[in-house]
Symmetry: C2
Subunit: 136 residues, 2 copies
Amino acid sequence: MSTTAAKNVNIGEAAKRSGVNAKLIRHYESIGIVPKAGRSDSGYRTYSEADIHILSFVKRSRNLGFSMKEIKKLVGLWRNKSRASSDVKSLAVKHIEDMEQKISELEAMVQTLRHLAKTCHGDGRPDCPILNDLGN
Amino acid sequence: MSTTAAKNVNIGEAAKRSGVNAKLIRHYESIGIVPKAGRSDSGYRTYSEADIHILSFVKRSRNLGFSMKEIKKLVGLWRNKSRASSDVKSLAVKHIEDMEQKISELEAMVQTLRHLAKTCHGDGRPDCPILNDLGN
DNA sequence: TGTGCAGCTTCCAGCAATTGGAAGGTCAAA
DNA sequence: TTTGACCTTCCAATTGCTGGAAGCTGCACA
């Protein structure tokens, strides 16, 4: 009745609570990642606890490196009580594979560069094997 | 005199030889990564061996994950005979550090996601711990 | 009651680093 | 001559934001 009444907040507060800044919240709304916020009489966006929860969900998913496209799917699955866990799992597994692929690419790059850097004396002299190698 | 004469080529051939496609070569020129190509009477861009070499250099640097900004610097250093090797080395070392940072972030993400995925049965049932965890 | 400022609104523009397309000129072979 | 491959420029889209400008609203303070 009173204490449990909806205490909707403005975008700034929603930003603070979800960890997603206001600019980005509007952006997410505009590209359909999060549902359209309600509006006050004067046109301000209003956010419920549930809305803020979705924003946090998006934030956390981003932190885990999901693309916006994937997150759009995840948010849909999350809001849909009848979704199958297999959908979620396959998305996650695919994503793990992508990240592992990226990690090994980066490791190969580091390997090569470290080798190049080791052969470069790194003083004031003009000749540097890094550049020579890059040129081949 | 004759056999060593400059045999400049069009952008398509330069693309083939450098591994950088024509569209991208024009783009690199427009943003000043590579020097402006010469032009034939009819306005076609022409590329010498040296030009192609620069393009290959850019390609290889990109493969090693350097940003365009860094590559711009590298190309400058490469074309400048009097540069100091310390400039090159510090650029490379900084880049290695950046990549290593990225690798550990990715590894942390994979770790987390792998954990989440393990706890998800991945069948037709609607409840999935991945989504539950993401929501917190 | 004003006034001042924080906070909200929209829209527009740009960042990296490409990629794609449209509309048109050129070159060489058939 | 005509086809077709190649070249030219310019403009737009992509992904995931971030920033600014111009203009409301809301609220405290004098």
